[in-house]
């Protein structure tokens, strides 16, 4: 129930652009323009967001670590939470540091500790918040220095970390924090948001265009929106072909089809798909990288064959990197992949 609610909220609120009052929204990247301002607007990870909403309502925010892939709303939700918690006091009660700021041990010892000691009058149940974005790029020394600071000043200051890899955060800090792991957004969630933005920006689109956007973004909302904007700016119409022209990587579905035919030992089909890809003008490097990536996640292959495939592809990759970027190499690779699943006797010369 909570889930549905969240999504609905997102749907209702997301339609209007949060332009921060500026009318020159033409200049603003859509990512920023449509960045959610309230927790209600955030798409995906509903359960976690629900919890954050409760925190925003009741105050007393615990220390949190939010980790997950890029573009799934980590920073956004921290900012929203801070904004909702502190309201007008946001400016003075929030210290936001990201990787662009210096965050060495000295900064932690001086600036962050100083901020933690600072007295800011806040309503009950509210604390100052230190937001450390991209915390995985902090040195371990700086993280060490945060340990007791987090505890001693926990009465007045709470910390929020956002990071891609939580294993870069030292264990003692993880032990002090509520760890929220954001998962990739589902395609549905991305689609919904894209539709909203298209509507708000009067973008003409075809359904396969949106599908292509979602596909290429792989759950990364930011990338999806960026691609949408680029496609719109470049072609004025969002169709599948246009999107892939913008995204410019061999279509994984096609590569997958090719690998499937390899698996079924249909070398002609495989070569045809390869030819098609090649004909679209992709470099052999692009094609082989995509092949590698697709192979790893190809569901129909057993793990053993995956590893065999990966080996052949890896060798071809090496050859390509050595400068032999010809179609022949790729065709050879495809042929070898086909051969992997065939009986070796077929290749023995008749005596």
């Amino acid at each position: 129930m909570a889930r549905a609610e969240s999504s609905k909220d997102a749907e209702n609120n997301g339609v209007k652009a949060h332009t921060n009052g500026a009318s020159t929204n033409y200049d603003l990247p859509w990512v920023e323009k449509y960045r959610p301002v309230f927790l209600d607007d955030i798409v995906g990870n509903t359960e976690t967001i629900e919890r954050l909403k409760i925190i925003a309502k009741d105050g007393n925010m615990p220390h949190v670590i939010i980790s997950g892939m890029p573009g799934i709303g980590k920073t956004t939700s921290v900012l929203c939470l801070a904004r909702q918690l502190l309201g007008d006091a946001y400016k003075e009660a929030v210290l936001e540091l990201n990787a662009s700021d210096e965050r060495g041990i000295d900064v932690v010892r001086n600036r962050i500790k100083g901020f933690a000691q600072k007295k800011v009058t806040l309503p009950g149940g509210r604390q100052k918040i230190v937001i450390l974005d991209e915390a995985d790029s902090m040195t371990s020394g700086a993280q060490q220095a945060l340990r007791r600071t987090m505890e001693i000043y926990s009465g007045t200051t709470r910390f929020a970390f956002a990071c891609n890899q939580s294993n870069k955060i030292i264990e003692p800090l993880q032990s002090r924090c509520a760890i929220l792991r954001y998962s990739r957004l589902t395609d549905g969630q991305v689609v919904k948001r894209l539709y909203q933005i298209c509507k708000a920006e009067n973008v003409e689109y075809s359904d396969d265009g949106i599908a292509a956007l979602v596909f290429s973004a792989e759950g990364d909302m930011r990338q999806a929106i960026n691609n949408l904007q680029s496609t719109f700016a470049g072609f004025g119409f969002v169709s599948g072909d246009n999107v892939f022209r913008i995204v410019d990587s061999p279509h994984p579905v096609k590569v997958q089809a090719m690998l499937k035919s390899c698996q079924e030992q249909k070398i002609d089909d495989a070569l045809d798909s390869l030819k098609e890809l090649w004909g679209l003008g992709y470099s052999s490097h692009d094609i082989i990288t995509t092949m590698f990536r697709v192979t790893k996640t190809l569901p129909s292959l057993s793990e053993h064959s995956k590893l065999e495939f990966v080996r052949e592809i890896g060798f071809t990759h090496m050859r390509i990197l050595e400068g032999v970027q010809t179609y022949l190499q790729l065709a050879g690779c495809v042929a070898k992949l086909c051969k992997l699943n065939m009986k070796p006797q077929l290749f023995a010369l008749p005596k």
Partner: protein, 1095 residues
Amino acid sequence: MDIRSFFGGNPPASSAEKPKAKDTKPKRGHKIVQDEEDEGDEDVKPKRATPKKKQLPETVLEETTASDYFGNGDRGGKIKRSDAGRLKTRGKPVADETPKKQANGGNVGANGKSTGRKKKDVSYVELDAEDFPDDNMLDDKVVENVKSEAMVGRRMGDDYAAGTDVDEDQPLLPKRTPRSGKRTKPKDHEQDDFEPDDVDMKDTKEDDDFVVPDDDEDIIANKPGKKTPAQASKKRKSVALEDDDDDDLEMEEAKPAKKRAAPAKKGTAAGKAKKEALQDSAEVKAIFDSIPTIQAPEPPPKDGEKPKFQFGQHPSSTVPAAAVDLNELPQGEENCLAGLSFVFTGQLERLGREQGQTLVKQYGGRCTGVPSKKTSFVVLGEDAGPKKLETIKNFNLKVINEDGLFALIQKLPANGGDSVAAEKMAEKREKDEANVRKAAAEMEKQEKEKLAAQKAKAAVNGTGSKVVAQQSKGKEAATGPDTRLWTVRYAPQQLAQICGNKGQVDKLANWLKNFPKNQRTHFKLAGADGSGVFRAVMIHGPPGIGKTTAAHLVAKLEGYDIVESNASDTRSKKLVESGLKGVLSTTSLMGYFSTSKADGIDASKKKLVLIMDEVDGMSAGDRGGVGALAAVCKKSQVPMILICNDRKLPKMKPFDFVTFDLAFRRPTTDQIRSRIMTIAFRENLKLPPNVVNALIEGSGADIRQVVNMISSAKLDAQTMSFEDGKDMSKAWEKHIVLKPWDMVTKILGGGLFNPASKSSLNDKQELYFNDHEFAPLMLQENYLGTNPQRTNKYNDNPKLKKLALLDFVARAADSISDGDLVDRMIHGSQQQWSLMPTHAMLAFVRPASFIYGSLAGHGQTRFTAWLGKNSNQSKLLRMVKEVQGHMRLRVSADRHEIRQTYLPILYEQLIKRLKVDGKEAVPEVIELMDSYFLTKDDWEAIHELGVGQADWEKPENKIETQAKSTFTRLYNQQSHPMPFMKASQVLAPKRAPAKERPDIEEALEESADEAGDAAENADAEAKEEEDLDLSKDKYVKQPKKRKAGAAAGKSTASKKKKTATASKDDEEEEEDEEEEKPKKGKGKAAVKSKGKAKK
């Protein structure tokens, strides 16, 4: 947790049953005399114990001395042991006992159900005694024990030991404690195990369970008197020790899984044997009877191969191929398995072991690793361990397969119905709840008192009452919705509230209490626990187990005022020295100015304690801080408590012997649970105990994290189900970068490649990226150290199995070398980093896919030897190059030719001659060397480059010192032709040490250096310089003046550069020396300026 059940808890149970068994079936008729006596003892025991149980007051418990306690603990352990184990240990010392044993075996067979098996049994027992060398047998068990034991720790993937109090002494490795070590054990136990237990009990104030442990204690207290001299004989003792060992482990293993069921087991233990059949209601009994049991297979026939049985070969801990989906698992009533204990053994067809155990735990059952009398059901799969099968047969345990388990879950009513076990369980549970409620109430009371005190204070301070009243009002308002974090709000207020590590906390308190006394004796008397000579204590352990809390609490309770310094303070050498000086010679103002009346601060609070938190967090900005701190620790007049996570780090080395080390372990689940339950109760959060257990286990016994978890769970829920708990602890799992060792253990032995395992190829690749430099190297080092699971299908055909093994190893090796080709592209001149994923696959994942399997039986995971070998190789290569360079005037061969053709002959002529002919050959050798322009260093290089027969490490290839010294002396006397000398070569010996020195110092010497042994250091330095100069002199003193001059010119230039950077006074010093001995000065200048600059 109950340690009493550990040693004392079992004997009554087993002994109660054993006599019975004896009556009906005289199975030990053929015992040797000693054993007979034993049995007699055991017979007597229960009789004595039971009547006294209620009479003796509790205090006996405290009076029991450790030695008594353990002397008997040993025996208890012994009794508990299965027959096979007993036969084994007894059979061993008496070699000619075989016929007897056979007879025994026969009886055992008779004791078991079927007589048809008699024959086999005979052979089994017979072989059992001979074919199972101790280690092997124990290994099997121990490995497993350790596995489940260390589960908590293992999950974390770190090397902290899981903190059961009991395994204090036991290494985590599947190694048996050396027997000699055993002797020291009692003491530790006394301190660590016994006391905590006591305190635990006090903690919960009224605990009716006391009755049960009491009787154990009584037995123990009574028993020593009965010890006859014969029993105390040496042999007996050794057996006992051994058994104790065994039993320890057994019980330890049971412990983590014990949960709230433990007391129930205890309770029933005594009565079970007699009453179980009577008390189980017909209904439940019917259910039990209806469960499809299966026939346990015979313990496998023993042939010559048997000793090779290794736990590791059995993928029992992994998920089977045909694993059932989690949702297909049967649904049962809540807690339906309450009070039942299960043992999983062998590989089940459709259920991974972990899965099964989770299932059992979910429904309130208990899982132990080793079957015993008290096991309710054994869930048996294929390839069960022979030892377990034997135990099963001996105790006639109920054996079921997973169908049986599912049936049990489906049929049993909630809370285990009205079976005895379940009832005991329910009782225990109620008691637990009562305790929790009580604790919560107490906590509340405390808080109220505090508040009241504050108010009173406000009232007393008449003048400022308004302000204070306002303050307290504000506080009240604040406490309405308490805004503190739970971790702060529920931080322990009394020592008793600290979970686990009681012994260590007590030690800390003792040390602090005795500090003033020790100060008067100038830290000369070590005291009982050896802490008296230390001015500082080092607490170390994983995060979240209460180290800082304990330190603060102890200091507070002992009336010290705390000065804290942590990683958020700069702690460089200078600041530590100057900053601490201020602290160390002062008294606390708080106590000084206090009037010791109103404000509750007593005047004694003038004492200061310095708590240095996160000592291992001293990093980049804190240069030299560690050394300075260690130096302060040596002479501090203020007690210092240092806290760190990892004591083993090289940078913590300065603290060796300076601080009194207290290792905090992860508390056991039971230790934490009551606390968590109390908190949950106070917060009106409904948490069933099994959920709490799941949370605690999931977090690796990190108390703080568990509190954080329930605090955020409370946000949107009032209850929490088992699945929620599991999910949550999964989501909250702390991700840390794996160490190289863990990486390779995980990929090879972690069951990642099992078909049912959920890990994708990407997950495995992620492992590689934990440390992409080391991953392939470590894999290469350890890939031969597995028992590949893929060869297991040939288990019945050893020959085929070997072939398969060879095949897989070859394929893995192939893949590793493929990976190396890729590596060449990445780390070579091309720097093709985009190949990293390929490298991960070829050099790490793919080889592992062939040879994954258990790592057991191959010792520890080794660290890669490649690094050492590689540097060795480059050294040798350099030597060959040098030799070739010198020979170039005479010889046109290249490096390889020199190595392959010249060096063997030169070896014969130069080295072997000297060895065979002694000092007579010296002139000729030197002549030959000169003719090839070889130097003395080259001579040594040639010696070192010998291979095969000529391997210089072989003792027979060592050259007599006399001949060698003659050679050296003569060589040094003469002058030798030098073909040429590169300037770099002249400088090399000088520069290298100068460069290396800071490195070494930084790691190890820095501390010593900074600890104030400046004089000592200076000596060493001087010595080293002397050495340097000698070697250089030799080289420079070559007849070729021109070269020496050139070299000197060069080095003076470099020296000038260096001295310029050095500090002023250094320069002056250097200049003076320079005048006297220009050549020597060079080396010194370089070294000194470097050394000084560093400081």
